[in-house]
Assembly symmetry: C2
Homo-oligomer: 338 residues x 2
DNA sequence: TTGTACGCGTTATCAG
DNA sequence: CTGATAACGCGTACAA
């Protein structure tokens, strides 16, 4: 591997000059620049990023920490982040909290973050649920800038990319109402998660704006999983309240609802309308294809990357925004009531 | 940030000694080791991985290159690789070919690989389709070891992790035959892809082993996408040949088949049995849940990581294997013909 | 077992 | 605009 030194010798200039043409920062006369470029070409020179990092105290790499790699979000989020960063010549280092037990998750996630910091990442983009706001705020005061995906923490609002969940919940309920539904059940994710409550709040707002009273008996909470949906629908049916539609905290819950409904010989959407949330990949594979609320994870990933580019690498970016708006995706699980 | 130098001063030993206790390679007396450890603790010392890499010519990071981040495989594959590598203290750097046009894919993938090599990764694990065998073989001769995921190239067999696709195709057909089907159509992925042909070959072997003639009219090829399935089934139906079941090149094709069948008022699986391949996440969300062949991507990812650990980092591993066996996942898209 | 001294390949700070 | 030269933080022969 040729080094900068050999290039300088062959080009008949100093080390500093070679460095200058590589980094295109200081002015170099066209003539000497040409000499250097030729020498590089001739030697097949490739800069050594490690040495460069040691000297410059930058690694041109940003660390991504996610709680799980196999979930439906991760791929899209990564795709967004990576495409933006890669175009800017930055590298993506990724880690997880380790697929640890639920109780150890917080610990695992913190370790993952340390792992990346020790790796000298120039910035971190993290998508975590188990770590507290305080911890993150504190982390953010350290030398490595931290950006939060799908999470809003007031004290570090400039570093947060999040979805307007309340509006999403609103849109979902409104979609149902617009088709003539009034008895609408809601199966929520765990209420200690901010996303869940925000979505539920939006749901309630839509009802109230349309003069529909919120019936507590039609609210159910459970996990953000299929099982949450099956259990939820069972519970709702067992209590005997009437409803023609159910809005779900996310698509997996919706899938669970549909499974349970079908097992009990309900036709979809004739006997029950369903709307999900997130628009994960399987939403369009399910039958009937699921009407849901789009969660633009990929665009959000791209935006997180842009933020890093702007703040950390001082590359001017336009169209910066930190809060994304959800959107209704109409498919085939809502019955139009005439 | 405290450096090794400050630690050495505080501990009253030399730089070399501190380095020795960090790397646990050379012998250090328990007493001095304790002094050093204390000093590190007191200073909150964290080794600088960059400097360490420059001096040792290792980065403890392995690069992953995949053609796409959002596909169904990627998450599982990554999860497997990452969990194994992380446990060993190695970092994962990832990149893609950029979501380039189909024609530029090869170029994009090559660039991605260069990107990682320039990053001084200790090894590469790549999952690519557009790059030729020759290119990979050549790459493999370079200083950075390259491992192939889901791909078998004879000249570098030791660095390949792959699935026994032929056996998978066999199992799929057999599953159908075992339930009494004899008129079995096959919708394949592009035949220039080795995976496709291997699966098809297995299919044919199963038929012949059971005394069923392979009917060319029942074979259809298309993309590995939903559209391949819808078009394929349409074609098969239009030609008027009879069949009671269709084996698909992958799950997406199966999904397309099911969509088309349903749109044409066929009941599943009563009017048509279907089997997929890969067992991607949505296979269990689809209705009816899809019977398919499991492609153990995650375990394969883990194995690729183990290979790297063994070959590159000289960490002894057990249970190494390079070719994985597929497995039938029985769900609800095959009708038992009595 | 421990210490010395040099090298790893760049960047950055000064002069000139 | 260009050239010396000192960091950057650590690994490792070699010597002691």
């Amino acid at each position: 591997m040729a080094t900068i030194y050999e290039v300088s010798k062959l080009a008949g200039v100093s080390l500093a000059t070679v460095s200058r043409v590589m980094n295109k920062n200081a002015k170099v006369s066209d003539k000497t620049k040409a000499k250097v470029l030729d020498a590089m070409e001739a030697l097949g020179y490739r800069p050594n990023n490690i040495a460069r990092s040691l000297a410059s105290n930058r690694t041109d790499s940003v660390g991504i920490m996610v709680s799980e790699l196999h979930g439906p979000f991760f791929g899209d989020m990564m795709a967004g982040i990576e495409e933006e960063l890669r175009a800017a010549g930055k590298h993506v280092v990724i880690t997880t909290g380790g697929d640890t037990l639920e109780e150890d998750k917080e610990h695992g996630e913190k370790e993952g973050i340390d792992f990346l910091i020790d790796r000298n990442c120039d910035a971190l983009i993290v998508h975590v649920e188990s770590i507290s706001d305080e911890y993150l705020i504190n982390l953010h005061k350290g030398k490595t800038p931290v950006y939060l995906m799908s999470r809003y923490v007031k004290q570090m609002a400039d570093n947060c990319i999040s979805l307007n969940n309340e509006q999403g919940g609103y849109l979902a309920a409104k979609a149902l109402i617009d088709k003539g539904h009034e008895k609408i059940a809601y199966i929520s994710g765990p209420l200690f998660k901010p996303d869940s409550t925000a979505r539920l709040n939006g749901h309630k707002r839509a009802l109230s704006e349309h003069g529909i009273d919120f019936d507590e008996r039609l609210l159910c909470t459970g996990e953000f999983k299929e099982i949450g949906g099956t259990k939820g629908l069972k519970h709702l049916i067992d209590t005997g309240v009437e409803f023609t539609a159910v809005a779900c905290g996310n698509d997996e819950i919706a899938s669970g609802v549909m499974k349970y409904a079908r097992e009990h010989n309900m036709k979809l959407p004739e006997d029950l309308s369903v709307i999900g949330f997130d628009n994960v990949n399987f939403a369009s594979y399910i039958y009937p294809t699921l009407t849901t609320i789009d969660n633009p994870v990929r665009r959000m990933g791209r935006m997180a990357a842009k933020l890093v580019l702007q703040d950390v690498y001082r590359q001017k970016q336009d169209d910066i925004k930190r809060i994304f708006e959800p959107k209704l995706i109409e498919r085939h699980t809502i019955l139009e009531k005439s």
